[in-house]
């Protein structure tokens, strides 16, 4: 029931907020709701059993038997942290958006909660069609956010975002259907239950490009690669980020991009092991290109938000690199880096938004010497910067180190090339910091009398900073939950299987009996 609550409570909240009589109470209300959700996710965490790779809290019900669609959700070490991450960011986003969203408040928070529901849903879904539904329906609220509360080129950005991603996921739909039909030829019944599909082995001729499995894999991979986004198909991201309002960018960078990498980890790789290993070099290559290219391009941006956007292209490249190392280090690093990127880039967008609300410009050249004017703000910014350039004892280092080491052990060339990104990452971030915070105060800044961080902004930043150091110092506090699942994935990729946790299985069986 817990997981369903996590998916459907936000919808209820959205409706409540949509009908909330006056705008004053909307934001506090939303905050309360989000706090509730976060509490729920904590309950989830505490009842989670880290000693197994099995699916826990599973809920299974036939939805549309004719189409073989089930309502089947469950959680394991891989999805656990992503769910918690999105529930952790939500309250912060709500606090943070008090400033940056002033018009059509009700619709905004409603959209936010709907988005939350769809994202959590896509992390929890264990039925391909269900996943696809959540995956797609997250587009609409996001596009709305960009389009209604966005910047001056918002329409273009939201169209680009929507159609780009939609285009990708179409191919996934195609291969989902193929997969189901294949499964039908084996088991005789139409079903999109992932656990069932894991068992099926799909025709794969080694050494030949475009065997069945490879094609299906590509179908999935295109969708996820666009979502991530990987190198050649990343161009929607800068526009979307730059145009989106601060909360939008935070959610987009913090959680939505993870849907792609999560998709790789949960679906693309385990469903098509041979194909993904066959093509791993392509993806590692693209990942490395993404890492270096993203960093280089970020270096020459003049718009802070664009810079951060390209930096996330680079960071997501790391994640892909780690996943396609196919060893425990790499996968763990990938998973951990998802969380890190969610925190640090999210925080960066928050910070950029805060300064944007004060000065209404994102041009780097318009800043300078902020460290004198806003010392506190600068300290937070610096800390987050260090986390995003992976300085040890911050979370970023752990993830990047695992990834690079994993990649190196898998293929020393990709690993070594990936390391270059470490240098470049430091370069562009510090360059930006230097321009924005150091040097003489920019006279333009002195006009709007800038005030340092307010309490609400503290409330947003402090938790993130705490998490940054906590995750940097004690990664095992977090990874112990995922360790089993990941090792299960890496050790037997080629015959991957997931089972239900015993208690759930008993429950489900008993439910069935009751139904009969």
């Amino acid at each position: 029931m817990l997981l369903s609550a996590l998916i459907f409570l936000p919808l209820v909240f959205a409706i409540v907020i949509a009908f909330c009589p006056k705008d004053k109470i909307v934001q506090p209300l939303a905050l309360i709701f989000s706090g509730l959700l976060f509490a729920l996710s904590m309950v989830l965490l505490f009842n989670f059993d880290p000693s197994t790779a099995a699916i826990q809290f599973a809920e299974k019900a036939n939805w549309i038997p004719q189409l073989g669609i089930k309502y089947f959700i469950g959680i394991d070490g891989i999805s656990l942290w992503l769910v918690i991450l999105s529930n952790f960011l939500l309250p912060l986003v709500i606090i943070g958006s008090a400033k940056s969203v002033t018009t059509k408040i009700r619709s905004f928070y409603a959209a936010l909660f709907i988005l939350q529901a769809s994202m959590v849903g896509s992390f929890l879904a264990l039925d391909l069609i269900l996943f696809y539904i959540f995956f797609e329906s997250s587009l609409i609220p996001m596009a709305m956010m960009i389009g209604i509360w966005g910047g001056d080129k918002k329409i273009y950005a939201s169209f680009k975002f929507f159609i780009y991603t939609m285009f990708g996921s179409i191919f996934m739909l195609g291969s989902i259907i193929c997969l189901m039909l294949l499964n039908k030829t084996v088991t005789g019944s139409l079903s999109s239950d992932v656990l069932e599909l894991y068992k099926m082995d799909i025709a794969f001729i080694d050494g030949r490009l475009f065997s069945t499995q490879t094609l299906l894999f590509l179908g999935f991979a295109i969708a996820f690669a666009i979502k991530v986004p990987m190198f050649p198909v990343h161009t929607w991201l800068p526009d979307a980020h730059v145009q989106a309002p601060t909360p939008g960018s935070v959610i987009l960078a913090g959680v939505m991009l993870k849907m792609g990498t999560y998709g790789f980890m949960r679906f693309a790789i385990p469903l098509f092991p041979e194909a993904s290993q066959q093509l791993s070099w392509v993806f590692s290559f693209l990942a490395v290109i993404g890492i270096i290219y993203g960093a280089l391009v970020a270096m020459v941006q003049t718009d802070i938000k664009k810079l951060v956007a390209y930096s996330s292209v680079s960071h997501m490249g790391y994640i892909i690199l780690g996943l396609f190392a196919f060893n425990e280090l790499g996968m763990t690093g990938g998973l951990y880096q998802m969380l890190n990127h969610g925190l640090s880039t999210g925080a960066l967008f928050f910070l950029v938004g805060m300064i944007y609300d004060r000065t209404h410009t994102r041009e780097i050249s318009a800043y300078g010497g902020l460290a004198k004017i806003l010392p506190l703000y600068s300290i937070f910014f610096l800390v987050v910067t260090f986390s995003s350039i992976a300085v040890p004892l911050t979370n970023g280092f752990v993830g990047e180190f695992y990834i690079l080491m994993g990649a190196f052990l898998a293929n020393s060339v990709w690993g070594s090339l990936g390391v270059i990104g470490v240098i470049l990452g430091a370069t562009y971030m510090l360059w930006m910091v230097k321009k924005v915070f150091f040097g003489e105060e920019n006279p333009g800044l002195l006009e709007h009398k800038l005030s340092d961080l307010k309490t609400s902004e503290f409330l947003v930043l402090v938790p993130i900073v705490i998490m940054i150091f906590w995750m940097g110092l004690f990664p095992n506090h977090f990874l112990q939950y995922s360790q089993k699942s990941i090792s299960n994935l890496t050790e037997n990729v080629s015959n991957y299987e997931l089972t239900l946790h015993d208690k759930d299985r008993k429950e489900l069986i008993s439910q069935k009996n009751n139904n009969l």
Binding site: P65, Y132, I133, E136, I163, I170
Partner: protein, 492 residues
């Protein structure tokens, strides 16, 4: 054989008879009771709605209850009543009931001739019913003619003087040309079949099925005939390149009528075509199936491209309906390839049509109560900021559009998914891939109105007819399209 007309035959056609009788009522009222004075509009409309409803109830009673199992023939195999007939007729009934209220005080419907109007309306519905139940090419043809002739005249009877007449002429000329082609095809089929038959009714589907495969093998003329009949139907279901009439006629006709044409009429002809395709010819003729697949692709493309270039809402929706006949063709091909009598593929087709019908009711209905005079043509820009004027209308339309675009979690996604999965089941991988890509193209112009409604502030006030029937129907449709996915198990 001793052909006799049994009582059961009359029972079976009772719904149709009811329909005809009720169609006469308003005119009778006008002529005999009120001395050639038009009855009140809502009296006429509600009378006819009632009539349709009654006959629907009868339908369900007979087929749902008494004859729920098995296949029944009436009038010496002229009509067939099986599950397919049942499903499709119910679908058309429902859609025409939904469509009827929109003619209530719509500016371009003549109050002075409303009784004739509904008379024609019900008779065209009757024609559909005959077409759907027909087990005989000739019956199909006659039903089709009855339906279309009524439509021609309804289009003509519009307040708006020029555009309606123009569209009537276009529709009439092209339509009768198409039916001539259809007939020519029928004559070839008849001819090639009669040569090898022994005296039963040759144009009868149930006999054609038996001889079809043999004929394809031997007889070129049969294939030609089949192709010509396909073309004749293709005109009605607006498949490329016989779709060109659609945008013009839809735009010219009164919007409630457009709604009717886009939903009930179109769906009826599609289902009739499905019946015809079930003759299981495509499996034996690679040529036909390939051609049809290409046509399907082109139809989607032309529909989507056309819609992209439009600024008038009505034309956009018209083109989108063309594009949808492309997707529907995918389903039809799958159906034809699977062949045989009632199958799962038909279920998917009917489901898709249901979804399509509902959303079209939504979109055109929306237009019909955005129009304040009979000659205005809603442009895209006039939607700006609608959401902030009347949120419910905007949301309703949004869900309908998303449904048409097939974006989850709307019903549209599920119907698309179902129809594509059946098509893939028949091995039409490339076709489905094309269809998917096309649906992405479609997303663009389905999003446009949404974007306008939500992302802009409106300049001038937007007129909205406050007609409660319409609003209710409209909102229900929108709601259905949203939750349809969840309700799907119930529908199936």
């Amino acid at each position: 054989m001793q052909p006799t007309v049994k009582f059961i035959d009359f029972l079976l056609v009772l719904p149709m008879i009811t329909l005809f009788v009720f169609s006469l009522l308003p005119i009778a009222l006008k002529v005999f009771v009120r001395g050639n004075e038009e009855a009140k509009a809502d009296v006429n409309v509600s009378l006819s709605v009632f009539g349709v409803f009654i006959s629907l109830v009868l339908m369900i009673m007979f087929h749902g209850r008494i004859f729920s199992d098995g296949v029944f023939f009436a009038f010496s195999q002229a009509l067939v009543f099986d599950q397919f007939t049942f499903l499709s007729s119910v679908l058309c009934y429902v859609l025409s009931i939904l469509a009827l209220p929109f003619i209530l005080n719509h500016p371009s419907i003549r109050k002075s001739q409303l009784s004739e109007y509904v008379f024609l309306y019900l008779n065209s519905l009757l024609g559909m019913m005959i077409m759907l139940a027909s087990n005989d090419l000739i019956m199909t043809f006659i039903g089709l003619e009855l339906m279309s002739l009524c439509l021609y005249m309804m289009i003509t009877m519009n307040h708006e003087i020029h555009h309606s007449k123009e569209s009537a002429v276009k529709y009439f000329v092209l339509g009768s040309m198409a039916s001539a082609i259809l007939l020519f095809g029928i004559s070839f089929i008849y001819g090639s079949a009669v040569m090898i038959s022994n005296g039963q009714i040759i144009t009868n589907y149930s006999t054609l099925v038996e001889v079809a495969s043999q004929l394809i093998a031997t007889d070129r003329i049969f294939l030609i005939g089949y192709a010509l009949v396909l073309i004749g139907f293709g005109f009605k279901i607006s498949m490329f390149p016989f779709h060109t009439w659609v945008p013009d006629v839809y735009q010219g006709a009164a919007t409630p009528l457009t709604l009717y044409m886009a939903t009930a009429v179109k769906i009826a002809s599609i289902l009739a075509l499905a019946r015809f395709l079930m003759l299981d010819v495509l499996n034996d003729s690679f040529a036909l199936s390939t051609t049809l697949q290409w046509i399907a692709v082109l139809t989607m493309l032309i529909g989507n491209m056309g819609a992209l270039a439009q600024s008038s809402m009505k034309r956009i929706f018209a083109y989108s309906s063309v594009a949808h006949s492309g997707y529907i063709l995918v389903g039809l091909i799958a159906l034809a390839l699977e062949g045989g009598p009632f199958t799962a593929n038909i279920e998917s087709l009917v489901l898709y049509l249901l979804g399509y019908g509902l959303f079209s009711v939504g979109t055109f209905g929306f237009l019909s109560f955005l129009e304040k005079s009979f000659d205005d043509d809603i442009q895209l820009d006039s939607l700006k900021g609608l959401f902030y004027r009347s949120p419910w209308t905007a949301l309703g339309l949004t869900f309908c559009l998303l449904g048409l675009a097939g974006i989850p979690p709307t019903l549209g996604f599920f119907t698309k998914f179902y129809i594509f999965s059946t098509a893939m089941g028949e091995g039409l991988y490339w076709l489905v891939l094309w269809a998917l890509i096309n649906s992405v193209i479609g997303v663009y112009y389905y999003l446009k109105p949404i974007v306008l409604m939500f992302f802009y502030q409106s300049e001038e006030d937007i007129y909205l007819a406050d007609n409660h029937f319409q609003k209710i129907i409209f909102l229900t449709v929108g709601f259905l399209s949203l939750v349809g996915g969840i309700l799907l198990p119930v529908i199936l």
